[in-house]
């Protein structure tokens, strides 16, 4: 059955359908953020605990190798969501590219900072790792918030940026314990800036699709 209609009605229909497609959120699109939020928060807290348990506290940093299998699991989650998605928007592609770029930047940043640190025998610069990664994560969340017009990510971006500044505060005021407090700040920020908005996004996507 075909329904012919007026030019005015056709303009109205185009506008309505474009809005519907634009406002669509992929079902479970927050799951990856929830997973990464919990993974990083758990690893940061485990690092703090191991720092007190192990006879050589420096060994506690090896816990961060958990990020490697974590990245593979995250990729699998993304692939599953992508496969099940009934619609893929241009915004989904931009957001996915932003976070892939974030992942690549972190790997590159770690190579650079460890390269400089070990070649100059200046291990103090490693103190910059947590705040700089938080700053980059804040940027990723900011772009995501603007692209999908989802306010909780915007708050998340400010939480990450505030956390990065908080790291500087702990270095000034709690000099000896600054590395450990960095991880505590990171764990809190990951829950507030990734896990909470992730759950909110999934809730919105469930209502939307």
């Amino acid at each position: 059955m075909e329904t012919k209609f007026t030019e005015q009605q056709s303009l109205g229909l185009i506008s309505e359908m474009i809005t519907q497609a634009r406002n669509n959120l992929q079902k479970n699109s927050g799951t990856s953020m929830i997973f990464n939020g919990y993974l990083v928060a758990f690893t940061a807290l485990a690092n703090v605990a191991l720092n007190f348990i192990l006879s050589n506290p420096r060994q506690s940093f090896w816990i961060w190798l958990l990020m490697i299998p974590g990245a593979f699991i995250d990729r699998m989650i993304d692939k599953k969501i992508d496969k099940e998605a009934i619609v893929k928007t241009h915004i989904d592609r931009i957001i996915a590219a932003t976070w892939r770029g974030f992942g690549n930047s972190i790997v590159l940043f770690l190579i650079i900072i460890f390269g400089y640190g070990y070649s100059m025998q200046n291990y103090r610069i490693f103190i910059l790792i947590t705040p700089i990664i938080m700053m980059m994560a804040g940027l990723g969340e900011y772009i995501t918030a603007k692209a999908c017009r989802f306010k909780p990510f915007l708050y998340g971006a400010f939480v990450m940026w505030a956390g990065a500044l908080g790291c500087l505060g702990t270095y000034i005021f709690l000099h000896r314990w600054s590395e450990i407090t960095h991880f505590l700040i990171l764990a809190i920020c990951m829950i507030l800036a990734f896990v909470v908005p992730g759950y909110k996004l999934n809730k919105s996507a469930k209502q939307d699709v």
Binding site: E2, K4, I14, A21, R22, I86, V87, T89
Partner: protein, 98 residues
Amino acid sequence: MFEELDPLLHSQLRLAVMSLLIGVEEADFVFLKERTNATAGNLSVQLEKLKEAGYINVEKTFQGKMPRTVCKITPKGIEAFENYVKSIQTYFNAKNLS
């Protein structure tokens, strides 16, 4: 004198499908059916017409044991859609002048 509207697009369901597809990378049959409130049979017929005209690509796959139909607008479809919108604009401009 204004351009004649593309008869293939000047139909409610086909235009709705094209308007949805212009805003996304690709969309599943289920998504199009939900958003247009069309029946599966009617939607299938209209998708076939758009496919025959080269306006969309229709890919049929399986997700597990379930069949899946994914639609994507083609460059020819984008051009046709843009021309359609331009024709409507011309129509309204002419109407406002008269």
